[in-house]
């Protein structure tokens, strides 16, 4: 059955074109995906991400549990409010999900996990938690709005008024604050996002979500749909679960080696495989730009000096004006790379990602 977020009517009232996204009825765009994309890069846009799942972990064993559950080390989180991006792995080292862990107190960590993987991830967390003194609570009554773009922080800070506004304006990158008694109820505001722009992800109670959405809209924040979210995140070099990684892929093969902590003495799920790949995994994820006209798409075959691979996420980049993509290919120097587009071998360039930095094409792209 199709699920709806609390903002469903608000999207329709703003003229959204709705699509099914992993069982959720979500806005694809509100007219033009490309205009929404540019608006986020140049000003501020907002996304309904309430389909993502907030999970609270509470109890004395929470930190120990997370040491086991995720590949990055939660011991890097020393100050309450700090956040960590990491992968949750199978026992064999495949990626169950990518997620953000927020450290709020010694007995309270918050996870935000993907929409599409919700059931699988909740079952996995529950199963893994059984050995630890930790209570796992899903928070379906919480909605989530991401406000992103160069004007996002100022706009949200102003909207929240003197005290709370100051608190969020001072938040460091990848940090969060729990705010009580704002005009929109209790909020959890994190300076995180999925667009490469500065901004916040705001967790709000469902009863206040529509009011917050409308207030942001009146403050000049443009609603943006899943279409723009996808082009923005790919430009920013951010991977999408299910497309760029899954349980058959290790973090090293998904260009997420930087999120792996092989810290001494920590037994975490999948560690054995990661140790075996620390000096080199059989496959790698590379960034591609195509100078020819056309669009790189998921599933297209990529030819390299070391053999064939395939396009993972691929799209037209509105900021660069060319097609960009991630591809998974055999390890090693890829050499000259071509992509099979409807039977034509089109040359592409291997580039570092992010493809876009500070709203501009990155050097070398």
């Amino acid at each position: 059955m199709t699920q709806k977020t609390i903002l469903n009517d608000a999207h329709r009232a703003l003229g959204a074109r709705m699509v099914d996204f992993g069982g959720w009825d979500m806005p694809l765009n509100y007219g033009s995906q490309i205009e929404e994309h540019h608006h986020v890069r140049r000003d501020a846009g907002m996304f309904d991400v309430s389909h993502m799942t907030v999970v609270d972990l509470r109890g004395a064993g929470t930190r120990d549990f997370l040491r086991r559950l995720v590949a990055n080390s939660v011991d890097k989180l020393k100050v309450p409010g700090k956040a960590l991006y990491t992968c949750m792995l199978t026992l064999d080292g495949g990626i169950v999900d990518d997620l953000i862990v927020y450290f709020m107190a010694d007995d309270w960590f918050r996870l935000v996990v993907n929409a599409a993987t919700r059931e699988k991830v909740l079952a996995w967390i529950a199963e893994q938690a059984a050995d630890f003194d930790v209570a796992v609570t899903e928070r379906p009554e919480l909605a989530m709005i991401a406000v992103q773009g160069p004007q996002a922080r100022d706009t949200v800070a102003t909207l929240l008024g003197d005290g709370n506004g100051k608190t969020v304006a001072k938040l460091g990158r990848f940090a969060a604050a729990a705010l009580e008694g704002t005009a929109f109820g209790d909020l959890f505001v994190a300076r995180t996002g999925y667009t490469g722009e500065d901004g916040f992800e705001i967790v709000v109670g469902e009863s206040h979500a529509v009011a917050l959405w409308m207030a942001l809209h009146e403050a000049g924040v443009a609603p943006a749909g899943l279409g723009a979210r996808d082009t923005l995140r790919l430009e920013a070099g951010l991977a999408l679960y299910g497309q760029d990684m899954d349980e058959t892929v290790s973090p090293f093969e998904a260009a997420l080696g930087w999120t792996v902590a092989l810290d001494e003495g920590r037994a975490f799920n999948g560690r054995a495989l990661l140790e075996s790949q620390a000096d080199g995994a059989p496959r790698q994820m590379i960034g591609l730009v195509m100078d020819d006209k056309g669009v790189l798409r998921h599933g297209q075959t990529v030819a390299t000096a070391n053999g064939a691979g395939e396009i993972l996420s691929g799209t037209f980049s509105p900021t660069i004006g060319k097609a960009i993509a991630f591809a998974r290919v055999p390890a090693g120097e890829p050499g000259e790379v071509t992509v099979d587009i409807r039977g034509r071998q089109v040359p592409v360039r291997v580039v570092k990602f992010p493809f876009v930095k500070n709203g501009q094409p990155a050097d070398g792209v």
């Binding site: 694809l28 033009s32 995906q33 279409g227 006209k293 056309g294 669009v295 799209t315 037209f316």
Partner: protein
């Protein structure tokens, strides 16, 4: 939904055909189709001189979202293509029935025109598609 010009004929797969009266027709995709596709970023057109067969894919329009084949509504020879779309594919979004035309065909089987949908038949079809 925008008005559908009364002088056009259509394929179910959203191509339009304008009869130019000199044995030639101009072909494009409907305003409804460009709306479904969203922002267009690339158009792959046939070459002038190509012989095309009704019902086969002859062009590709790509939006940010997806690539879609454009099918030939009629058989014949391509006599002109809209080169301007190479630099401005978004013209199709802005003016699907005018400046956003794709190519011109000299008909080899003029009777095929009788099999195409009239504007009201096409309007009925796309109404049925909507939620």
């Amino acid at each position: 939904m925008s008005e559908i010009p009364g002088d056009l004929k259509f394929l179910k797969s959203h191509e339009w055909v304008r009869i130019e009266g000199d044995g030639k027709v101009t072909i494009g995709i409907s305003d409804h189709a460009q709306g479904l596709l969203g922002d267009l970023v690339y158009v792959e057109l046939p070459a002038v001189g190509d012989d095309i067969q009704a019902g086969t894919g002859v062009a590709v329009v790509e939006s940010v979202k997806a690539a879609s084949d454009v099918y030939a509504p009629v058989s014949g020879t391509i006599t002109a293509v809209n080169e301007a779309l190479a630099d401005k594919p978004e013209t199709i979004n802005e003016d699907a029935y005018g400046e956003g035309w794709l190519f011109v065909v000299e008909l080899s089987e003029p009777d095929q025109l009788n099999e195409l949908l009239a504007p009201d038949e096409y309007a009925e079809q796309i109404e049925g598609e909507e939620d």
